[in-house]
Symmetry: C2
Subunit: 352 residues, 2 copies
Amino acid sequence: MGDGSKPGSITIEDVATSAGVSRQTVSRVINRRPNVKDSVRARVQQAIDDLGYVPNLSARRMGGARSYLILAVNDRQRTLENWRAGRGNDWVDQMLYGGMTECERHGYHLVFELIDTDTAKAEGELAAIIAALRPDGVILTPPHCDNAGLTGLLERHRIACARVGHQSGEKCVDVFMDEEGAAKRATSHLIDLGHRRIAFVAGAPNYGNSARRIAGFRLALADAGLPGDAGNVGNGDFQFDPAAAVIDEMLTSPSPPTAIIADNDEMAFAALHVASKRGLRVPQDLSIISFEDTPGVRFSVPPLTAIRQPTAAMIAKACEQLIATSTGKEGTGRFELPFDLIERASTARRQA
Amino acid sequence: MGDGSKPGSITIEDVATSAGVSRQTVSRVINRRPNVKDSVRARVQQAIDDLGYVPNLSARRMGGARSYLILAVNDRQRTLENWRAGRGNDWVDQMLYGGMTECERHGYHLVFELIDTDTAKAEGELAAIIAALRPDGVILTPPHCDNAGLTGLLERHRIACARVGHQSGEKCVDVFMDEEGAAKRATSHLIDLGHRRIAFVAGAPNYGNSARRIAGFRLALADAGLPGDAGNVGNGDFQFDPAAAVIDEMLTSPSPPTAIIADNDEMAFAALHVASKRGLRVPQDLSIISFEDTPGVRFSVPPLTAIRQPTAAMIAKACEQLIATSTGKEGTGRFELPFDLIERASTARRQA
DNA sequence: ATCAGAATTGTGAACGTTCACAACAAAAAA
DNA sequence: TTTTTTGTTGTGAACGTTCACAATTCTGAT
């Protein structure tokens, strides 16, 4: 603030002149490099503060340094479909929460982009985005986290990669939650409440996490010594209508389930809907647990008991690790984050 | 694909060599400048496609050109509070929807950031972000859209600015919806259904849009020739508990409202909650309209009739205008976007 | 006092693009 | 044909930073 002749163009050179040192010394101070005398460091810092200097990211990047950008990539079709249908996209919201707050802590910026479901297209699109932006790290979410073409591309370009929802830990930082354990916990919770016939409405059968959850579901039943026919698995395709159909069918059977676990909120709402249509009270006649916990479940009637995925925390962890990698840390590892079972009013002890 | 010695480093020079022209000619082709022979343009384009060249954004920016970045700024306290409370942030989700899709259409990228509610802090934070990122345009949302310090800062730095939720159209591109008209429409809808005692539960009284909506509410009542006491305005502070309290009080009065308009979804849920507690059926005994339409209202029981804000469309329009400005268009103007009244099951004809 | 070694500071080049302007070619006017 | 105008292409410099390395100053041992 002062002459105001050239707004917003305070450069490292201005700081250097003002502090009576060279460019490079200022650069060292900015980047917290060693080998700067304390007195000089203080003088430079003072000049930086006085002038309100902030390094230009583009120039930094040009100089061969980091870009201070983390790229978060989502699936275009799935994301747009959610938005178009007016369904909202809690996943995106939570990603931003975790990603942005973590990036901000380290002076980084988060850029969010969509790429195609189709493998070949996705690779081209990602290539274009990284060529333009040159991010220091990329976060891949389902289903792209399982796409070896994308991780290969990033490896070739030497860009650090974090996968959210992938568990191998090879070549990337992998962040995930214990899907099997979560399903097990949800199931055990129902068993503890006295339920002996429980149904699991799965999402996409070929989706890794659905499979893991089904495994956890079966494991919990077995651990409790229940017979094989205590658990019934249906497929609801993550959507309302197919889920409603399969749930309706389940409840028609001669020995219907007294509790249902749904693979996501939308299918849990379908269960609620079907129950109401059939005159079943929730939770007295039917207990319901969901596997997602978007904000809407707090306001449903009754509010749903749900497994809460640590979406924001997973993205934050991914950012943290990518940023650490860009400052030298090795870019691989497995990070399992804890989930929560949030008890609300849609589950109750089985009525005699 | 090929030698693979230097991955991801195809520069404009490589394209120039491959096409047998100079840097500058390639630059002209990339930027769709005139004065390039068609045959040459085609040859260069071919080389670009063959090599998979994408211009490096940082270098472009350094060369004095655009940054191809749009910055969307939200209020930190309000946004974080929503996230922390597990309430989700549909506004953020919708912003991303509108902003990202529009930016993508023009080869732009969207960066989303939070700045402090406090005016002085906000100014410092925004200054730092624009110094680092040098975006081509900045989108200011409530309450920052009304902060003259921020628009002044952007003006000094010659960065185009779009305000969402501000209506003056001076010095910035302003994008907004007809708040007064929306309230009027909601009110008329209830009047048409035969309601004669209607309550409006406002959010923050000092928040410009609440005031506009109250005005619309009153106008509709007056237009219908209803007496002054037909409309009752309460203050629910945009939150569940205060809203529930004020609604409960309203329903206790000797001539209680038969319909309620809530300034946001959370307060509409409060209305639902209070009605249920008092044994009032919705919509038979009480009609409810909300003013926000987040995804949860589709799944409430009953689903809520609501005014739908065109959040995504407003952000998209803001991006469109900012991008147009960065290519020469004047950076001011007023853009009013249409809202929707979505009829669901929470409103019905007044019972005799 | 002298010198080796370490710590500190500075200098020129580089990053990939665009800008300003110069050079050249082609078309139109004289 | 010659000149003018217009259209097309190329060249050197600039943007703001970091890198690699050179130069200088300090430290502590001999």
